[in-house]
Assembly symmetry: none
Homo-oligomer: 422 residues x 2
């Protein structure tokens, strides 16, 4: 293990029982990442003395910096200060600066510090405090056998406020080489297809540019990481952009809905949705984005057949003869939604989300989509045999993507319809 | 370390960079906990060969069972099968059962399996597969130096579907003591309020019945765990049910929408939604549940003001003088939605979701709700000063809960409106 490694050690019974989802370690990693640092190794343990002692010992052999999170509170199961003192071979002493912080914190709340409050001021001898502007427990920094141990509280708001100092202290000893990153958000291309396309170009792919994937349904994030001084990132970015083509929604954290919102805004257009099987998810995805009122006009969730007729004007005879999951019905749903809303462009979907309702003719996962404008309307049928939640997500996302594609003048039928899977 | 320890090893660069918050380990811990098992030790690493090798070696010394999560995918950085094979001292072979699974999975999607797909069928020699009903990558089970290694995919939906088998295999070797559990799903009561109400009854609370909370926005799960032979669980369950009262939606994994669907179904009634600030989320929450077509008639996402008028018949002068976020507007939205859909009961919401749009008169987070029937309609205003996503979730959930309460004849204004926070 490298001499500049940063390790994390998270403690707390609630992290082991599954009652709490740990978001602190992601917060720490992101703060470090912004400074070009990465976390090499992360261990999570309950409030368990022998295991914590063993983990501290291991980290002091392997890591240059160990960031501990949790266990700084006032209760008996908060063991961090005691165990770090033991590992450093020093006593636990009343730290004057920490005591002043506790007393000031209590005074600001008009309470008399009790024993539990003051326990938080007993720190390993020689430790420097890490200021906590949000809570009564300070963190501290101390060297243990050549490893800088930095302790932080488990309360997310307190941790967040302390991270600049924590990361600064870590960076001061790791030195740290900055990295550069490119993150593309994509839709409609799977990890294996993307990898296969990139592999075709891999004969001249530089070793110091690392490719990574993050499957965030319905999007796939594809990213490149390289040392700050690598001259190759720009070239790799061009290769990747070429390979991913019109699947790219944008960079960094952009969502499919935000990408569509941007295109609509750029073109001064407004959209409408008419949903059956997705039940409002298309509208909800669009309106989850701030600023959606400028581009999203209305959504019609016409779940029952008689509503498709009465609200959107779908012909009753067509519903009877063709069924709700059919090309003429989605076409009429879209036409009705465009006419009733006055929107420029829209999407309509009707399908069999399941788990019941499939027939030999229209099996589970069958969906008809219609998208476009009054004068340029397209339709397509596909089958997505997956569970209800995934089916709804994929269909809603495809609906948004199809509008995006039409507005941008991209090929009418995307790659994912040719493979049938989205 | 005990001989029956269960360890977790999570892999993936996205877990180290802070790009992904790990919810998988909580899911695994909860599933184990339901079987009376706990996770003793958890390590998280990037897609990093030497570190993974070291962690596997350490776990095979310390743990009876090692559950690995991630790294089963089709790309180069998916190292799990290869490294476990090396640790077990066996070759990586094309597993016939896994290959059949991949081919069937591809066939169901009408795609030809490529090399990347088939990579997922190369498993350590002698491994037993763990069936994956949701994805192309199976998990597998193999003994490594006396430690049972169980591998699972990183995609949460796939992991979830595989957990019963994974936990069953773990339990078969750890033995483990059975526990009994009661889990209530609640809405509209906070953890601290629930805890305070329970504390008032704590003088005769038995020691072997453990109370736990799990905040799952918008619901709060409140659970009791006791040894299988404890006679006290029934009594504690009655106390808890009394304390939580009409905040209880049901038991086990029931959602707010499923609870409402059940009440509507029992009473043979159908609902409609008219949404502005929640943008379709009420409809989407209802229709996410299988069977919603029997009870959900239609949803109107009247985002723009002129749509509130043209689609729902809201008076233009009222919109002008009172503004879209006002009592008469939500009342007219609901009346219009009921009339146009023919539904028995419904909810309408209009509010300031932010981040922009607040005024001194109607600050950020202001929302008007109307709910009920043509003859019994109620309205209420509240202020939820939180971020957009949380605001939308809380308002949509309250909308569903208010219909549930009215149908059940519960007090018109729930506890959470008296506190203003939901």
């Amino acid at each position: 293990m490298a001499q500049r490694d940063i390790h994390l050690l998270l403690t707390g019974d609630e992290l082991m029982s599954g009652d709490t989802v740990d978001s602190n370690s992601a917060m720490i990693a992101q703060a470090l990442s912004a400074m070009g640092q990465t976390v090499a190794h992360k261990v999570t343990l309950g409030d368990d003395r022998p295991r914590l002692v063993a983990a501290l010992k291991q980290a002091s052999q392997d890591a240059r910096v160990l960031i501990m999170n949790g266990g700084l509170g006032p209760t008996q199961d908060d063991l961090t200060a005691e165990l770090v003192a033991a590992a450093a071979g020093v006593a636990l002493v009343l730290n004057a600066e920490a005591e002043r912080h506790v007393r000031e914190w209590c005074a600001a709340r008009s309470i008399e510090p009790n024993e539990a409050n003051l326990k938080q001021a007993w720190l390993p001898e020689g430790a420097e405090i890490i200021h906590n502007p949000r809570g009564s427990a300070v963190g501290f920094a101390i060297e243990v056998a050549g490893t800088l141990v930095l302790t932080t509280p488990g309360v997310p708001g307190e941790l967040k406020a302390m991270l600049p100092e924590v990361c600064g202290r870590a960076l001061a000893v790791t030195g740290g080489e900055a990295t550069q990153r490119v993150r593309f958000q994509t839709f409609g291309i799977g990890e294996s297809t993307a990898q296969a396309r990139i592999d075709e170009r891999s004969h001249d792919w530089p070793e110091d540019v690392v490719l990574g994937f993050r499957a965030g349904m319905p999007q796939l994030e594809i990213k490149l990481t390289a040392p700050a001084n690598s001259p190759e990132l720009g070239r790799c970015r061009e290769i990747l952009a070429g390979v991913l083509g019109d699947h790219i929604l944008g960079e960094d954290d952009i969502t499919l809905a935000a990408a569509l919102q941007q295109v609509l805004r750029d073109q001064g257009k407004k959209m409408v949705s008419a949903e059956s099987c997705t039940g409002g998810l298309i509208a909800a995805m669009m309106t989850a984005e701030p600023g959606s009122s400028a581009v999203f006009e209305a959504g019609f969730v016409t779940y029952a057949n008689h509503i498709k007729h009465s609200v959107l004007g779908v012909d009753e005879a067509t519903l009877e003869t063709e069924g709700a999951v059919s090309e003429p019905v989605v076409r009429q749903m879209l036409a009705g939604a465009l006419a009733r809303s006055g929107a420029d462009i829209g999407v309509a979907v009707s399908g069999v989300a399941g788990p019941d309702g499939g027939t030999p003719d229209k099996p589970l996962g069958t969906v008809w989509l219609a998208w476009g404008t009054e004068t340029e309307m397209h339709t397509h049928k596909t089958v997505l045999p997956t569970d209800r939640a995934m089916f709804q997500k994929l269909v809603a996302a495809a609906g948004l993507d199809l509008i995006r594609r039409q507005l941008l003048g991209l090929p009418k039928l995307p790659h994912y319809f040719s493979r049938r899977a989205i």
